[in-house]
Amino acid sequence: MRISKLRLGAGYTALIIISGMFIIPFLWLIRSSLMDLSQIFTMPPEWIPRPFHWDNFQRALTFLPFDTFFRNTTIIVFSVLIGTVLTSSIAAFGFSRIEWRGRDTVFAILMTSMMLPAAVTIIPSFLGWQKLGFYDSFYPLIVPAYFGGGIFNIFLLRQFYLTIPLDFDEAAYVDGATYFQIYMRIILPLSRSAIIVVALFSFLASWNDFMGPLIYLKSDNLFTLALGLQMFQGTYTAQWDLLMAASAAVVLPCVIVFLLGQRYFLEGITLSGLKG
């Protein structure tokens, strides 16, 4: 696709202006993480720390057992990631590439799980997990990911699967392929972008999840980073310099994951080659 110079220039300008606005919260976080308390709150705000308080990071990260928190978070995040990608991509296949009676009704029923405010299901869910004996373990945070990984992800993948021409499946059936082979060899490779988006979202969601660990964990040796961050905040008073430094340290891996991850859906796959 060719783009005229004028349009490219206009596009650049728009991108730079928008990026300028969107980077403000992140810059704010970074600069606050390097300031002392009084400078964080100076109004109008200052952007360059004077002096640079690199020690904020050291103080924040040694204040609480962040190595334990990091280990716990890693276990949860990767378990959730694998489960979500596996089961949501399989389920989405069943909701889009196989025709069966009641399929769309079942899908509609699953959609309703997003429509009831969590505030009223927290307690029943908690009681359920507790009855099963899994209170104060990672199971409540991980296991659901292996059962569909959330309707959000299934719905998202379903939408992408539906854009793949049916001719592909038909051709494969004629060649004697099974559903599973079609899923593995046609649908998965063609939906790479969407699968990576699902992986990315599930990583970030479970990395930043605070409510789940708060409700289901009790022992502090199981706590996660997101839960640890709250400890700087307190209920009535916050240690803002440490909170900001710890937040920055927790956010950084997300930024790196994103920078690396986005490369894979940057270049779209072209259907043309396959379509022939």
Partner: protein, 469 residues
């Protein structure tokens, strides 16, 4: 077709395996934890080791102080181990789910403005009066007034680890540079409201260096506010009480904030913002940081705040001090405090009571007290000069005005927080707060706003906890 079924089942089996492996890492930790904390049977008096669970909120420094007090307690009671659960945010949500799951701690820090009374009303807490009546070490007379919370007279659901009162904190250098004498510390010399407003005007400076008394003063560009009086009820309640008003009538039957005394107090606080321009409006206040930073950076010259702010002030290296609040009619300070409550479900009520006592003991909580966060809960720490010296002398958190402005007021001039005695306080305030928003923004007078909602607020009035029903 067969192959397909096989590959699916292999895949599912693999998934299950993966979950098991990954989560088993986490279970290993809890297993060792659980064996260390068995819920021991209630065998009293035996040397069998027991574990008490206690939940608190608080900033890291406060948690460190709790741990210190607990260590002292454990040294005294070698068979008792305390398992401290720190729930930093969303404390009520977490505690509510724990109650739902019958997994409550033995002893918990509670807040009178949130779920303490709802829990108490359902009989979830021990009546601490029963312990107080028989305890050889402490009784009601030993405790500072207004730190006990009662469901009704004689039914104490919680005792605070110490009172928290309000004072007028200020930056000494600002007063020195302006050549103005700082807020008096002694109650007998307290400023009248007009004197207070006058000083605040002199110390409110716009970006051209003019103060609020200057006819050219520009209220849109204020560099330094004379005072920061936030719109939190904790702050303005001081002045309502000082002016002889209340949130609710003495018989607990009538809504009180539309009565002349309360209205006048609210109006005067609102006038600080909208008429005199000496205190940031709720809008401007969003950019005023915590008191210690606001005073240090000279965003404000004085700040009306709770005494707990001294803990942060002590760590900010500048010359701060504290004076007594300006007086409308009577000198009064509201006392707010958290509380410790003992859950009915505990298997070890006596040990829990001992732990509660240990947390009340100023000697054990000395770090919290000297750091500035708490004040002692025992009366004699306010009267015995030797004990007073322990927590007020030579400490960064206790400036020279502290003894007169804060300590002397507590024993005789204090008033309980409205959350402690007004039934249904939150629901009443759900009606009041939206109306007050208009008062703070200068869109309505206090009288108009309170009269407008008085019938609706009256519908939420359910009586008082401090008078017999």
């Amino acid at each position: 077709m067969l192959r397909q079924r096989k590959s699916m089942s292999v895949l599912i089996a693999l998934m299950m395996l993966l979950v098991t492996i990954l989560t088993s890492c986490s279970k290993a930790n809890t297993a060792s934890e659980n064996t260390a904390s068995p819920s021991a049977s209630g065998d009293e008096g035996s040397n069998e080791s027991i574990t008490l669970r206690m939940s608190v909120w608080g900033a890291p420094a406060e948690v460190a102080a709790y741990k210190f007090a607990i260590k002292k307690f454990e040294a005294q009671f070698p068979n008792v181990k305390v398992d401290l659960q720190h729930i930093a945010t969303d404390y009520d949500t977490k505690l509510t789910t724990m109650v739902a799951g019958n997994d409550v701690p033995d002893i918990a820090m509670m807040e009178s403005g949130s779920i303490a009374f709802p829990l108490g009303e359902q009989g979830k807490f021990y009546n601490l009066q029963e312990f107080l009546d028989t305890d050889p070490d402490i009784n009601v007379d030993k405790l500072v007034p207004n730190i006990m919370y009662s469901l009704e007279p004689g039914n104490v659901i919680g005792i605070g680890p110490g009172p928290e009162s309000f004072g007028l904190f200020y930056n000494e250098d600002i007063f020195k540079d302006a050549g103005i004498s700082p807020p008096p510390a002694k109650v007998s010399e307290a400023w009248t409201w007009d004197e207070f407003v006058d000083v605040a005007k002199q110390l409110t400076i716009d970006n051209k260096g003019r103060n609020a008394k200057d006819p050219d003063f520009d209220p849109k560009n204020i560099k330094q506010y004379g005072v920061n009086a936030s719109t939190w009820w904790g702050i303005y309640s001081n002045f309502i009480y000082s002016n002889g008003g209340d949130f609710i009538s003495a018989d607990g039957k009538t809504f009180g904030l539309n009565q002349p005394e309360a209205v006048e107090a609210i109006q005067k606080v609102a006038d600080l913002m909208n008429v005199h321009h000496v205190s940031p409006s709720p809008v401007q206040a969003k950019n005023i940081p915590a008191t210690n930073v606001a005073l240090q950076t000279k965003k404000v010259a004085m700040a009306i705040d709770g005494q707990w702010t001294t803990a942060n002030l002590a760590q900010s290296k500048f010359n701060f001090n504290v004076g007594v609040l300006p007086v409308m009619k009577e000198p009064v300070t509201t006392v707010v405090a958290g509380m410790f409550s003992i859950f009915k479900s505990t298997k070890h009520p006596q040990e829990s009571w001992e732990l509660l006592k240990a947390l009340l003991d100023p000697e054990a909580a000395i770090d919290m007290i000297t750091s500035g966060t708490w004040m002692p809960s025992y009366k004699d720490w306010y009267t015995d000069p030797e004990l007073i010296a322990k927590w007020t002398e030579g400490l960064d958190s206790r400036p020279s005005g502290y003894k007169d402005a804060i300590i002397d007021v507590i024993l005789t001039k204090s008033h309980q927080t409205p959350t402690g005695y007004v039934k249904n306080f939150n629901k009443i305030m759900d009606v009041v707060n939206p109306a007050l928003d208009k008062v703070w923004l200068g869109q309505q007078t206090a009288q108009e706003a309170m009269d407008a909602i008085a019938p609706k607020a009256q519908a939420q009035v359910k009586g008082r906890r401090d008078i017999p029903q």
